[in-house]
Structure formats: structure tokens, C-alpha cells
Symmetry: D2
Subunit: 401 residues, 4 copies
Amino acid sequence: MKSGHVKIDWVYRFMPLLKSIEEEYGPQKPLKELRIGMSIHLEAKTARLALLLRDLGAEVIVTGSNPLSTQDDVAEALRERGLTVYAKRTEDERVYMDNIKKVLTTQPHLILDDGADLTVTAHTEYQEALKNLRGVTEETTTGLRRFRALHKKGLLKVPVIAVNDAFTKHLFDNRYGTGQSTWDSIMRNTNLNVAGKIAVVCGYGWCGKGIAMRARGLGARVIVTEVDPVKALEAVMDGFEVMKISQAAKLGDFFITATGNTKVISEKEFLEMKDGAILANAGHFDVEVDVRALERICVEKYEARPNVTAYRLANGKVLYLLAQGRLVNLAAADGHPVEIMDLSFAVQALSLIHLAKTNLEPGVYPVPSHIDEKIARMKLASMKIEIDELSEEQRSYLENY
Amino acid sequence: MKSGHVKIDWVYRFMPLLKSIEEEYGPQKPLKELRIGMSIHLEAKTARLALLLRDLGAEVIVTGSNPLSTQDDVAEALRERGLTVYAKRTEDERVYMDNIKKVLTTQPHLILDDGADLTVTAHTEYQEALKNLRGVTEETTTGLRRFRALHKKGLLKVPVIAVNDAFTKHLFDNRYGTGQSTWDSIMRNTNLNVAGKIAVVCGYGWCGKGIAMRARGLGARVIVTEVDPVKALEAVMDGFEVMKISQAAKLGDFFITATGNTKVISEKEFLEMKDGAILANAGHFDVEVDVRALERICVEKYEARPNVTAYRLANGKVLYLLAQGRLVNLAAADGHPVEIMDLSFAVQALSLIHLAKTNLEPGVYPVPSHIDEKIARMKLASMKIEIDELSEEQRSYLENY
Amino acid sequence: MKSGHVKIDWVYRFMPLLKSIEEEYGPQKPLKELRIGMSIHLEAKTARLALLLRDLGAEVIVTGSNPLSTQDDVAEALRERGLTVYAKRTEDERVYMDNIKKVLTTQPHLILDDGADLTVTAHTEYQEALKNLRGVTEETTTGLRRFRALHKKGLLKVPVIAVNDAFTKHLFDNRYGTGQSTWDSIMRNTNLNVAGKIAVVCGYGWCGKGIAMRARGLGARVIVTEVDPVKALEAVMDGFEVMKISQAAKLGDFFITATGNTKVISEKEFLEMKDGAILANAGHFDVEVDVRALERICVEKYEARPNVTAYRLANGKVLYLLAQGRLVNLAAADGHPVEIMDLSFAVQALSLIHLAKTNLEPGVYPVPSHIDEKIARMKLASMKIEIDELSEEQRSYLENY
Amino acid sequence: MKSGHVKIDWVYRFMPLLKSIEEEYGPQKPLKELRIGMSIHLEAKTARLALLLRDLGAEVIVTGSNPLSTQDDVAEALRERGLTVYAKRTEDERVYMDNIKKVLTTQPHLILDDGADLTVTAHTEYQEALKNLRGVTEETTTGLRRFRALHKKGLLKVPVIAVNDAFTKHLFDNRYGTGQSTWDSIMRNTNLNVAGKIAVVCGYGWCGKGIAMRARGLGARVIVTEVDPVKALEAVMDGFEVMKISQAAKLGDFFITATGNTKVISEKEFLEMKDGAILANAGHFDVEVDVRALERICVEKYEARPNVTAYRLANGKVLYLLAQGRLVNLAAADGHPVEIMDLSFAVQALSLIHLAKTNLEPGVYPVPSHIDEKIARMKLASMKIEIDELSEEQRSYLENY
């Protein structure tokens, strides 16, 4: 069997929620006669989701959500299973945008977006794509920020379901998923020791919390940087050191960004860093570590290991950038663990089914809470975990006391 | 110096935020000509808050919020410093309610409530107390639940500020405060080992999270029980075992409730427990461990240590209940750590100042976000921790990209 | 029932190993016709051990091993149960030594020592006490160091069993016991928050490891100081910061010593500390925090809370010393958790039985490994934990492959 | 540059101790005129050690210590740098033994062994190799067990230095090295989530402790199995569940063996396991998971992912075995982190220098403690960490008090 199919078959076994949805909804084909444009990090787990949507009745057209995160063998396997796929790992940014547009040309009824590139392009350069569009589901914090900015300016033309904001998504994916997969990627790409090292985590949102928690779990001493004083205080109480990035720059062995912002680590910091410091980004876009500044100030640049670029600075020190500053867990490893994506993608699938049968005004909507609860119960059941139910007396106490 | 004053002087030194507020607002006397009724667990830290409110210009009348949590020496010290105090540790429930009413008789302009007993009584048995009342601040999850239930029925007559919901309150007080002080109380009252024992934590809200986190930090194996599937799943992902209380009953060495609900552990569970099991409640009311059922089914009852009541059951086993099932950290120890209460009480003080200068309709209101941010910044400053500020470019990126 | 008896009854229930030994050996009276001098921190758990030794046939004479760690109600209860007790909490050093001598006057056949004061005095000031003496068991690292120094000089006249070195003693008592009880004492005596604070742990032996582990478990940021480079490196790899005490002095909120050495924190460090720093000693003798230097350099000294002495320095800062620099978990709390002492005291009891039936040359001897294994098996059985047994094939593999 | 050289250059930068040794001892050539036979897991870090020994004057002949752990590109790079290398990844067991014998044919003066295959073969099938042999250094627990068994039978003909027993080796390599690299390998080869899963760790020696600690650090619920009651009790006190493998078999999602024994998980357990269970071995030999039993009882076998073999049993369940049951961190990942091996290999290098200048009787010797201390100091210095020194007064206190 070819590698793309082997990969997809592996994840099938560890995504019980998608299987349950297939079994429960498959016979009704709730997405039939709908064309879905998907912009995703194309690897085995997202491929599994694409196949589920197809099996729920949809016509599915797939593109990447990040040039480097596409796995070509998986793309090929999806094509062999009958989906339309416009994605390739080696593409440059222009090719990436061309593929985005190819998806839009099909005038999809629904968009499953990851970072908002597909939908934002439909609102700007390629507005005919809005014609059929009935709704969008968005996977990431970053994408939602973009949609909300768009809506604030009165420019959003479709309803967007904030998949990322579902409890069963962001509480798990951003924290446990990003936490594990970021360190998986750093370890496999560097073979360096984590215990006893200093890990600087920029941002203490759910992703940063997960990265910091796992850094400690691997034995690192953790420093957190933040701009939000409440989150900064939370990091302090969690036992981490908190300081400015300008102070942390001198101390860190590993630097990981997860802020959703730009130029979090830049020239000034690079010049202060220790020889051999490792730089990685776990945020959606490749702007958190200021790669352009690195390119500008380095005196030499070379490939130190696969996925590791060495930048020698004029001060003689060498900094190592993982995955060119792109999402380190996706561009240089296999992304979130399978079971975590099973949770997130169950939210996606049920949200798309929800969009297919409702008619919403433009705006950004939360995932209905019954979806969250349903998914959590499905997941617990798949783990054979039973929980308590409120008794009548308890329910009444909560309401009336 | 008498013990009440010694206790108050000690906490003074470790409550830098109240001191900062005193320095910043004291000269303006923003609470002058206002009478504040306080219902609180009366010990050194709440005494410090009462003194601050007095120094901000208010006339302060103090009562307890739980019969067993009043420390008489502190009450005495407050009286000696000129406050009116109606509270005593040895009081029975009737005396407790009498004191509540004594406070209401003064017709306060503002109420600082902890569990809502004071304000609820003003809405029911003693409605003349509503005459001057301009607003309430409520400290606990439990109290807010009661206020929201009241408001839903259209019965709430005053604006209530949800102090508990402030980030700088519930993220810190409920989690780190309850977490530490619950175990402090269990350890000091039992002298039992925690490492290697099985701790059953009922409820995985912020309090339960804190108690579970510290149980693990002390070396226990932790079992969580929940009724909410999302929280249950979160506990699983945090590495805890999750099961029904009926299963956990057979396994636990320590049982701690923090649900806000009633009869979380009851007769059926008591009969399944191991000989020597320890029962403690960390929720607001003494109904979580079903003490009446214990009293009913026991064949013998005796004081095993101070604050530890032994119940011998007909099956020969002995269960030990701490603090008669009341809030274990308050009724059998010193409550939350000083610095944690400094945070919460800074929210209280600034919320009361806010109420004093605004005019709100009846309802439950969040703490204004500028108060949260101000307090977090004050706290970081008191720890000499500096954090990053967004650059113009970053701010613009977040808004426009 | 009087408080001493209540305390002893409580620990009875949580010391299953001593109970098992009583049941297994009691009928044979293996210690009959032997007089045992015990020097111990006299509280409920050691009282339970004394009663076991009596029930194994011995005549038991008890004194303290530290002036401040004697609980008078327990001493009284022991007397009421027929033992001879020379110990009192309020005694001064001279009274303490007098009591030591009173025990020696009885010319015991066996000594159970804790810190070596009793036996060392028998070798120096009161040598007639050596006449009947057939052997000694020593509880602490500190005591063993003294015995080994004595033996190196050729002065040791009796065999000493190194109870502390038994796996079931030092792996558990020093680590889990000291770890929990030190923080229990600090929390109950200060009511201060641990999460987010900086805890400086001096010494990374088994005690220091336990204290550091629990400090982290309570949310502190931990700094370790060491003189041994291998232990220092281990602390680094465990994720702790390691530095000199001179650097740590400026940073710490809590300082805890557990080195077995003298003047670990002294004048130079005191002068660098932050206002409000808390000082505690978890080592055997009260010389680790240099209390004399504190007394000399302070401009004011007062009782800030029970067990907390405030020292105001000329630089205006106030340092708080717990328990006068004595063992903080014993002098200002209830010592190790009950179940931990059950393990250690099982080693004591079986070692004394071993001494009673063997005839050894002077020297320091390890606890026979069969005792260690027996105790570990007894403890697992008491927790209803079953473990694997080697198969014949596995045993042969280990020996022959 | 070819991949083998790139890999070696990468590790050079993160092995400061080997560099320090090169700088300190290189000029003296302490190993000149000595031929060293090395049996090692041949990858970049061991290659770096081989190059150091060459630079210290030795003639170095290299073979593997495990058929699957050889990286061919690194072997090639070593050949290109002038060393003699007899090792290949795809070799079968016979080829492996042939290579062992090729090294012995050169009649080395010193052997650096990893698992004892090279030296044991020299004592059995190829005794002429003993002629020049002056000493051996052994890296692993398993190898030392074999040497001690040999010595007990009077068959050991050379002195062996127990590198594994050095503090700077086993406290770090077995615990932090195996801990991290085992999970790195499991995560990269499966892409499965660890948080919320049940990890069964067989063996609670230093390796097992490390694996269990990291499993918890990654969010797993951990079950430990042991045959030694003291270690079992330690695992309990560390907060882990302890039970028999027969009970754990039904519960685990991941099973990792690290016992040094054979058939730790075998047919009886396989039949009880959950569908989808993952099996991995972190012990030296591939006998801990009983692969032969798996082969015998499976009804289908296929490659599920690279390094993951699926075994479908007659009960319909599929078990996944990583790396064919060989050392999972070496055979299916990059082995221990670079810096950890730097510590271990510093012990190797200084032990070989020690052997070169001393003349020892056959036997198993500890690493001299001055080597341990020197290495720890070198490592701390490389991290710019300063530690305290004993004062004269303190040294005297420790000796005389």
C-alpha cells in the first residue's frame, strides 16, 4: 500500500469520534448537494476529515492552509480516493495562492477554513466566490481574529462558526495538542536534551500554556513572556518565571512563540542570544519569529539538519531556526496528535452539518453548546469513562437555592 | 500585643495591593458617608479589608458568613480599632442569623457579601434593609448562583458586582487559594501522609482544579468526579482518573468536595468507603458531604482530634469528617493564603469604589475589565516583574491583519 | 480522654506496620529482659513506637532528642501507660542534657538514638553507661555522620545499626516525610501563599529533594544551592535553578536548609535578603540558619506569630525565622506524617530485635536487606497492592545470561 | 556535505565536555599506541566519541552493539574520516556477530562495550582476542550484570570499569536520557496523543523512573509494574499506580519495558490487551516484550507505519509493536539526547584514559569518584552555573562534630 494510504489508515483507528459521526449521520447524507472548500494543513488527519465530509454527502475540494504543511503522499492518496486536491508541499507562496483561487473557482457552498486565507481571499480578490457561499467554519484563533476584524469594519458577508472557541476544540487542541506536538517536533528535529534547559515561551494563551506545561513536564526551566498582565500573573502563579523578552533573550536555550502576533522575537533579541539557541514558532503565521531580520543580519546561513536552518551572526554566534519559522509542529513534524484532531474535527463536522440546515446572518457565531456537550460525551464513551448525573434533588438545588 | 492585633499586623505586611489602594485612594475618601455591611469569614485578612474600607471613608459593620469561620480574637481586635462587629465563633445558626439581621438594621448603602446570606435576607425576611442599598459585591461562585437565580425570577432589587468572576479573583483565589489552603488544613488536622494516597476530588471547576493540582503536587494519586462532560474530559487530559463517585467511594483515602451542589457524597458512598477514609468539604455550604446521613447511619461518634469527628458505622469502619463538613480551609485552618486574599480584596475594594460612583439597575454585573487589568499590573509591580508592551506595529497587526 | 492519649490513639490507626510487628512478634517477647534508652522527638508516633517496644518485652526509658520537639501531653500519656519519661518541651539545653544523663544512669542494653546525642554522651561524659550497652540504632543522617567520625578515630565502643540508611527509611522518610511536613509547617505557621513565590532549598540530598519536589508541587519557583557538583547537576536536570547562596539570598521568599552542615545561611546573606523573607530549617541541628548572627545584627526582635520570630535589621528589613531555627516540621508542627514514621519505626523495631539476638563488633552496620524487603512487602500488603514475582525463567535469565 | 557528516557536526556543538577533554588531554595523546575496539549504537554521538578517542592517540575500530541501531550514513562518514568501521543497519544477527569478530581479530588493547557482546565473545568463541586486552569499559546496566555473572563464576579475565555506575552516567543517562528519548520515539513514530492515556511502565529502576516521570510530564496516567518491593513502594509514593502486569495488561494504551529481564510482557498479557495497544521496549535486549509469542499467536502481521508492526490476534484486536521490540529510542529514533551522551561519553573517555595508565586485576571496578566529580564540575561550568564551596569551618564541622 502506498504511504499516503498507510498514513490515512493509521489515523482511522485512532479517530473514534469521526467514526461515530459517520455511523450516526452517514445514512442521512446531511451534506448532500453541497460543495465544501477546505483549506487545511493537508496530512493524514485532515484527509480523514475530508473523507468523512465526502461520506456525509458533500463534494469536497481541498487545498493547503500553509505551503510547507502539505504532505504530498497524503494529497495523492486523497486524489486516488476521488477528491479534488490543489496542494503541494514544495509550492511557493504564489503557487499557494493560485491553489486557494482554484478552490474558490468552484464556488463552494461551505468553507472549512484554517487561518482564514481561503475566505478572506473570497472577500477581497475573488468575490465571485461569495455567490453560493452559505457559511464558514474556522479552526484557529488567528483566523477568528481576522474574521472579527473584518466584521467590525462591516465587510464580512457570511456567517462564520468559531470552531476554535468550542470548549472541545480550544481547551484540548490548543493546549494538549500544541503542547505535545511542538515538543515532539523540537525533539525529533534537534535530538537535544530538554531537561535542565531554559525554555522561553512567548505567549500564555491556551497554546502557550500547553507548551509551557509540557516543557516543565520534560524537565525544562520555563520562562514566559506576555503582554497581558492577567495572563502574566497566571504564569507566575503556575510557578514560571515571567519577564520581558529582552531579558529572556539572554537566558533561553529554546524559544517558542505562540502569540498570534508579529515580530515577537526580533533583531534586538537575536543579538543578545546565546550561541546555539533554538528558535521555533507554534503560532499560525510565520511572522512571530522575525525571519526577515534574521536573514538580514546573518553573515552565513546553512542547513544544519533537516528542518533546521543555521544563521551565523556577526558576533560569531549561531542561531538555529526550525521549519523556517513556520508552525513547527506541522511544517516539521506530523501536527497535533491524532486523537486531539479527532475532537476538533468532530466539532468541524457537526458545525458544517449545523450550517447546512440553518440560515444565519453574516457574523461570527459560537459553536452551539449542545455540540460541545455531545462531543465530550462521545469522547468519554470512547474511553469507557462514566461520569455522574445530577439527581433531581441536585438539579433543583442548583436552580432554587 | 493581643493575638487578634498580632494576626492583623502579620497580614498587613503581605497584602501589598490593599496598601497600594490605601495610598492611592485614601486621601480622596471615595467611600465617605457610606455605610457598608460586610458578611465575611472573619479572620485577619478580611479584618484588613474592613480596615481599608474604613480608611477609604466608610462606616463599616461586620458579621460572619459562616458560623464556624469567625476568629474571636480578630473580631475583638476590630472592635478595639473602632468597627462594629456582630460575629462569634461559637454561635449557633440562630445566633448567626441574628447577627445578619443586626447588620441589616443599620440599613447599609453597600453590602460586601460572601455567599449571599446577607443580601438574600435583605430581600426576604428583612426588606426594610433595601431602602438605602445601592449595590452589592459578591465574593463567591455560590453567592452569584443565588443572585442569578433571584434575578431570573425578577426578584433582585439591587445591582450586584460579580467579584468572583473577575479574572484576578477566580483564576487565583479559587484555584491557587483553595488548592493550597484545603491541603494545608487536611495536613495540619490529620498529620497524615498524602504521597501515595488516593485523593478523590468531587468537582473540576476552578476550585476542584486547584485541589487536584495540589493533591498531585503532594504526591497523591487523584480521582476526579464530575457531572459536566467537558470538565470531565479536561480532567482526563490533565492525567487524572475520572469515574463515578460510586466507584471512587471504594478507592479513596481522602474525599474533598468542591461542587457548589448538595449531597455529592451521601449514604450509599459512606457505606462503600475504606476504614479510615477522610472526608472534607471545600465548597461554600456544608451540604456537599451529607453530614445528616452520616449522623443517621453511624453507631458511634467521637472527636478523634481537634476538628476531626469520627463516625463509626455499623459495618465496623470509621470515617473521619473534618470541620463538621464546613469549608475545611476556613473552619479548620486560616483560610486562603494572605497574598491570594490581597488580590480578591483589591477587586472588592475597587468594585465598591466603582459602585459608590455609578448608578446601576438591578442585575448581576461583571467587574469592569480595567479593574482586572489594574490589579494584575499592581500585583506584578509588587513582585518587581516587568512584562512586554505591544509595539505600535504589533497593535496594528492585531487590529488590521 | 486526655489529649496525649487521643493523639496516640489517632496514630495507632495509621501505623499498620507497627501493628503487624506487634502481632507477629508480640507473643515471643524478643526484647524481654532488655532495657532500651530512647532519645526521640517525643510526640504521638514515637510514643507509639515506645509502646510497641514495651509490648515486645523491653523496659523502655524515654527522653527527647531536641528540646523543642517534645509534646508534653504525649509525654504525660506515656507515663500514664507505665513508661519512664524524662522529657519536657520548655526545658533549656541544660535540662535537656540532664535528661539524657538520667536515661544513661539506667545503663540501658540498647539505645534507640536520633541524632546521636544519647550515645555520644555515653562515650564522653558518662562512660559507665557503656557497661551494659550491646548496640545502638540510629535514625538520622546527622547521627550516622557523627558515629562514623567517632569510629574513624577508633573511639566507637558499640555496634550501631544505620537505620537511616535502610531503603525503607531514607528513601521515604527523608524525601516524602520531610518534604510534606516542612511545607505543612511553613504553611500553617505563616498562612502565606507558596504558588508563584521563590523557594530557596539549601542542600539536595534526600531531604532537600523532597522539599524541592513539594515546593514545586505547591507552585513555587525553586532555587537549589549545593556544594556537591553531582547533586547540583541533578537539581539542574530536575528543572530547578542552581546557584550560590549569595546569589539566591537576594531572590528568595522562603529559605529552607537541609544540609546537615553549619552556617549555611549567615550574616552576609541576611543582609542581602528581601523584606519579609521567611527562614526555616529542616536539618537535624539548629545551626544551619545562623541564628546567633541574626540575634547579633538585628535592631529589634519580636514574636510575629506563634513560632515566628521577627528580626528587624539595621537596613529596615524584617526577616522571619520559624521555630527559632530548629527542625521546622517537629518544633513547629507535628513532624513527619504518621504513615511515613510507621515505615521508619518498623525498621527501628526490627533492627532492635536483630541487635538483641546477634553479637556484633563496634562499627556502623547497614540494616540487613531482608529487613528492608520484609518491610516493603508489609507496607504494600497493607495498601492491598500486589506486585509481580520473578518466574523461574526470569530468575535464571538474570543469573546466567 | 553528506548527511553523516552533517549529523556529526551538529552533535559536536552540543557536546561541550568531549570538547573540553579534547582540549585538556589532546596534546598529551594519552591513548597513543593503543587499539580500542568499540561496540556501540553507531550514530552521530558515538561517532563523536570515536573521533575523540582517535584524537587522544588511539587506533579505533568500531562495530555496532545492536543490529538495528546503526546509522549507515554516520558509519560512512566515520570511514571517510579514517576510522575502521564494521557495522551496517540492515545486517542480520549473523552479520552482526561476524562484525563483532572482525573487531576482535584486531586484538584490541582496550574495549569500549555496550551490552557486553564484544567482550563476552572474546571470553567465549574468540579467546585469542584476550591476548592484548588490558581493560574494558561497559556502558550499560545489562552489560554489567553479565560481567558480574561472569566474574562470579571465575571466568572474567580482564578488569572492567562500570561506566554505567558512575553517578554522572546512570543518574542522568538512564533517567533523563531514556525518559526523553523513549517518548520522543513513541510520539514521532505513532503521532498519538499521550495526555489522558494510560502508560504502563514495566520496571522502576533509573530507566523506568525516567520513563514514568516523562509519561506524567506529557499528561499520561501512569501504572508501574515491579518485582522489587522497595522500588514498587517508591513508585507508589511517587503517586503512580502499582499493580501486576496481568492487571495492567487490560488497562494500558502504551506499554514500555525497562527491566533488563526477559518476557516481561508475554502471551498471557497480549491476549488481555485493548485493541490498538502500543508496545515498546526501552531495555537493552529485545527480549522484554516477548516478540516470539506475538509472532506465534498473531493471525496477521503488517507494517502499519514505519517502525510500527501491527499484529492482529485471533480475538480480532490489533497490537502495535515499535521497532520490532528493540530499544525503541535507538532503533526507531536518534537515541539519547546529545548533551546526555556528552556526560556519559566523558565518563567513557576519562575511564579509558584511567585504564591506559593503571594495571588492574580482573574484576568489575567503579569509576573513580574524582572522575565523577570532575565531570559534574565541567558540566556545570559549561552551563555557567556556580555552586557553593565548603568553608573551612563547615568542612571541620562535618568531620569533627
